[in-house]
């Protein structure tokens, strides 16, 4: 559930088709994933899931895998 929702948000922020985003996506595999979009993504995820990340959690978000792992911890889903 979280995965599909997260992929959709990432695709919207990066302006790429949703089917191009998966668990292995990262700034290395998505050329549009620059530093500004990275921060926009963090803010969009916080808003969509109704949560706030701590500073260390923000720094730990590097790619889709680390984001999904963090969301599992925060939402328990």
């Amino acid at each position: 559930m979280n995965n599909e929702k997260t992929f959709g948000i990432i695709a919207r922020i990066m302006k790429v088709p949703a089917d191009q985003i998966n668990e292995t996506s990262s700034p290395e595999t998505v050329p549009q994933w620059d530093s500004l979009k990275h921060i926009q993504l963090i803010l969009a995820i916080e808003e969509a899931f109704g949560l706030q990340f701590a500073d260390q959690e923000i720094v730990g978000i590097k790619d889709v895998r680390s984001l999904l792992s963090l969301l599992r911890q925060k939402t328990g889903a």
Partner: protein, 190 residues
Amino acid sequence: MMYNPYAVGQHVYLRHPTPQDVEGSWHEWLSDEETTRWLGMRYWPNSVEQQREFYENSKKSKDQLVLSIVDKATDKHIGVVSLGGINWLHRYSDIAIVMGEKDFRSGPYMLEAMSLMLSTAFLRLNMRIVKSVYLATNEASQKIHDVFRFKQVGRIPQLYWDRGQYSDSVIAILNRDEWMARNGITPPKD
């Protein structure tokens, strides 16, 4: 290997600037148009002599804390983060950050350096409020402040001249108690 680390993160560490930093690329960052576009000193070129003078002054100052941002993997000096205008009575200061090395502008480096400096301000230096001022047209700066939950508290219309037009200046603050709550740290009892 880290030299003289002051605050250590996963990807970067902060340390006191060294004479080698001064003689390196630091002064060139502050002449580069792209790097300085959003900085207060963006109108005049910088020189190594000016950088030496800044370094000597900052070494003695207790009203500002200037720290070099260093990439842990390579021990390369990649930027500078500072707390300026430290007011020890009212316990506030102004944060500023420059990622001079362009290869390090993407990735976690700036966010981690900012996080380390906020932690330094609130937990080590007992700051109560960290302030920041940035141009309203600087979308990246606004997003960085948003992600760390700075609150916009003021706006000065048409203050800065930037590439052919005037831009508003935004004043934002981060309160220690709110920062602590968000980071799961119990606030002290004053």
